[in-house]
């Protein structure tokens, strides 16, 4: 293969020396792949375990340029790994499989793979995989918008020429597309050296993602444009392009989650009401809540399983959104409280508990809760969330967290709530705990969240079984939430200051929330026509991932929320309750829960609930 030397003659002789991470559980294939790659003069690292691969990637984001992974692996599904890598590290991933089914290939693409190779893999195909790295770099550069200035002393003229051309092209495109060119200046990531053709990749850390999600929530999913998000996030060296591409990924996630959520919605129907679960939820710290809330094990399981951990991001937002929305104004006030006085920690923690399981199962269950909360809160919470002065930008979440708590008490089976609450809670707690980390958790927990995710999953099963006392095992909630869930239960009552919990939940919550939302919708129907009331979903709305949340109660009665709600792109919408009478019903139950929760928490939750009533 002809190795084009783009760039300076320095150590960067791309594509020679491109660092590839190869993952395949089949030793024969792995050896072959490794040898082939070395023959292409790449720098190869091989592993047969997906978990090891993730760990390596997380340890040092800049250690690899490209990942090649088998689809069929025993310890983790290749697509899951793909999503994790795409979200956390934003590296190009190539899928490899002996099965070339169109459906599988399509799945790979939708999960973000930049290529799909068939076994037996041939050296000719591997010789060109470096193009994916270049392409991504160019895209990043484009986004950052600083490519157009000619780099001085670039190595090869060709390289420079390319860069310049690209830059100009980008610039043109940007001018056409964007109204602001300011962001370009913010592109601090740009690598001055064009020859390297590698600009520092923007790493979407948990913290950053949290801000991102908060900003999106604040703006509303419809109005979430990169420019405004960027402004809200107020992060140095972040360009509009970075945000734009991240937003795009986010939306993809939400969409994906919503599909799953749809399925979940059906299951949600099976969710029973569990007042006690509610209470328990509170104690669970969000993670646990999920579990308790979800009356139906099957729901949990189903939801849980169907939810890909990767959906965390999306989920996080949505559930949070739910929570936030549902909270009636009182809730919002609370939020304010939280921020100011910090006592809301209870709320936050409560919220957290709700959200425990972004997992599908949880989500569904949690949904009702959130929906209820919405009702109670009359979307004020939504507004609040944004307003929450939380220290971090993720105001949105903290607020929702509180709200969620309030709601969750009401719902018996809000796995969804749990989920959302997680995200919310995380935020809330962050507020109190002054740990923005919670928020960031929502964003994406790099490493932790994800790893937790896997751990959580098994836990979720347990949770489901132990509905009653699932103390934070809300594993189903979100894989990531696994950690959170675990930690959540204990701290449920106590203001959660530990971010880790939050973060986990957030991440997971994003995914499950979607499903949860849907389920919630259904649950809600059952429990209270909360759905009807939940007009506040809009809180979640902005979040793209809220799709599932957008459970609509078209019908006045408490029929199960249709999964159609899920259709809504990430917009959790609660229809305004058609029947006023519904509210009272719900409120009653909510109140009970709320009071129960209040007792546990110290009444912050009850606050929101009460006020709504």
């Amino acid at each position: 293969m002809t190795v084009e030397q783009i760039g300076s003659e320095g150590k960067d002789q791309f594509p020679i020396g491109m660092r590839v991470l190869a993952v395949d559980d089949d030793p024969t294939c792995l050896l072959l792949l490794g040898t082939l790659l070395r023959r292409c003069q790449y720098h190869v690292t091989t592993t047969s375990q997906a978990k090891t691969a993730l760990k390596m990637l997380r340890e040092n984001k800049n250690k690899f340029d490209l990942v090649i992974s088998d689809v069929h692996m025993p310890d983790m599904d290749g697509f899951k790994l793909l999503e994790h890598v795409g979200l956390e590290m934003d590296l190009p991933v190539i899928m490899l499989s002996a099965n070339g089914d169109t459906k599988l290939v399509m799945k790979g693409i939708t999960h973000g793979a930049c290529d799909y190779l068939l076994k037996p893999v041939r050296i000719e195909e591997l010789q060109n995989i470096w193009q994916h790295v270049v392409r991504r770099k160019k895209k990043d550069r484009c986004n950052s918008g600083s490519k157009d200035k000619p780099h001085p002393d670039s190595g090869e003229a060709v390289g420079i020429g390319n860069v310049d051309n690209n830059g100009k092209l980008n610039k043109k495109r940007k001018d056409q597309n964007e109204d602001e060119d300011d962001e370009r200046d913010e592109n601090g990531h740009d690598n001055e050296d064009p020859s390297a053709q590698k600009k520092p990749r923007v790493v979407w850390s948990v913290e950053l993602h949290r801000k991102f999600v908060a900003a999106v929530n604040q703006l509303g999913i419809d109005k979430a444009v990169p420019k405004k998000i960027l402004e809200l996030m107020n992060v140095e060296k972040l360009t509009r392009e970075n945000v734009a591409s991240h937003l795009q990924k986010f939306r993809l996630y939400l969409k994906r989650i919503s599909c799953v959520a749809n399925q979940q919605a059906n299951m949600a129907a099976a969710l029973g009401t569990a007042d006690s679960a509610y209470l328990r939820m509170g104690s669970l710290n969000g993670l646990g809540n999920f579990h308790t809330l979800a009356g139906s094990d099957q729901l949990h399981n189903a939801a849980f399983r169907s939810f890909p951990p990767s959906g965390v991001l999306g989920r996080l937002n949505t559930p949070a959104g739910l929570g936030i929305r549902g909270l009636p104004s009182p809730g919002t006030i609370q939020l304010g409280h939280v921020q100011n006085s910090g006592n809301p920690t209870n709320d936050l923690s409560k919220l957290q508990s709700f959200v425990p399981g972004n997992h599908n199962t949880n989500i569904l269950q949690g949904m009702p809760m959130s929906l209820e909360l919405d009702r109670l809160q009359h979307n004020k919470s939504v507004g609040h969330i944004g307003e929450l002065p939380t220290t971090d930008s993720t105001t949105v979440f903290p607020g929702s967290g509180n709200l969620v708590d309030a709601r969750i008490t009401g719902f018996s089976n809000n796995p969804l709530l749990g989920v959302t609450s997680n995200s919310l809670m995380l935020e809330g707690s962050s507020q109190q705990a002054t740990s923005h980390t919670s928020v960031s958790a929502i964003g994406f927990q790099n490493g932790n969240a994800l790893s937790d995710f896997t751990s959580i999953a098994p836990a979720s099963n347990q949770l489901q079984d132990s509905k009653a006392g699932s103390q934070g095992q809300a594993s189903p909630i979100n894989c990531n939430a696994g950690q959170i869930i675990r930690s959540a239960p204990q701290e449920w009552n106590a203001p959660r200051k530990d971010a880790p919990y939050q973060s986990h939940a957030l991440i997971n919550s994003s995914i499950p929330i979607n499903s949860a939302m849907i389920q919630l919708g259904q649950c809600l129907d059952r429990n209270n026509s909360i759905f009807h009331r939940t007009t506040d979903l809009d809180l979640v709305g902005p979040l793209n991932f809220v799709d599932p949340l957008s459970i609509k109660h078209g019908e006045g009665d408490n029929s199960i929320m249709e999964p159609s709600v899920i259709e809504k792109e990430g917009y959790l919408m609660f229809q305004p309750r058609p029947h006023g009478s519904h509210v009272p019903d719900n409120i009653g139950s909510l109140e009970d829960l709320a009071s129960a929760m209040m007792k546990q928490e110290g009444g912050c939750n009850g606050y929101s609930l009460r006020t709504s009533i």
Binding site: D26, P27, T28, L32, T35, L36, D70, N99, P120
Partner: protein
């Protein structure tokens, strides 16, 4: 010298016959090309790995198919899938073909069919193993490095 040439010839001929008979396909040639000074035993290494893996997978499948209470076809399918992948990677064409048929039986949850395929796979695998071992012996006899066939 003459002997070496003869042996090399032998190897080439034998290798060609294996190709003709369908035991090996193009992929195996690729493997051979990959061998160089940096990895002089590459082909042997890969083949050994394959044999190990193959035996493990066959055992898994046998055990799964023996279950009286109910065969877990998904597990069998997973093993077959992996075997298909590794056999195609090494160029074991006949083994791979059996795997393809095997998979459809798995999907149809046809235990009898699966058992038959399992037998076939085992058979093909043993054949291939013998032939490759012969081939490798020849390679060693021919001077220790596998000459490129084509």
């Amino acid at each position: 010298m003459d002997v070496v040439n003869q042996l090399q010839r032998q190897f080439i001929d034998y290798s060609a016959s294996l190709h003709r008979e369908g035991f090996l396909d193009d992929q195996f040639t690729q493997l051979q090309k990959l061998q160089d000074d940096n990895s002089p035993d590459f082909v042997v290494e890969v083949a050994s790995l394959f044999f190990e893996d193959c035996e493990k997978l066959i055992n898994n499948m046998a055990r799964a198919l023996e279950q009286q209470q109910g065969v877990d076809f998904r597990q069998v399918d997973a093993s077959v899938h992996q075997l298909k992948g590794s056999s195609s990677s090494i160029g074991a064409m006949r083994v791979k073909d059996v795997c393809v048929a095997f998979r459809s039986f798995c999907e149809a949850q046809n235990r009898e069919g699966c058992l038959r395929c399992l037998q076939q796979v085992t058979h093909e695998y043993s054949l291939l193993k013998n032939k490759l071992q012969t081939l490798f012996r020849q390679i060693l006899a021919a001077g220790g490095s596998i000459p490129v066939v084509e």
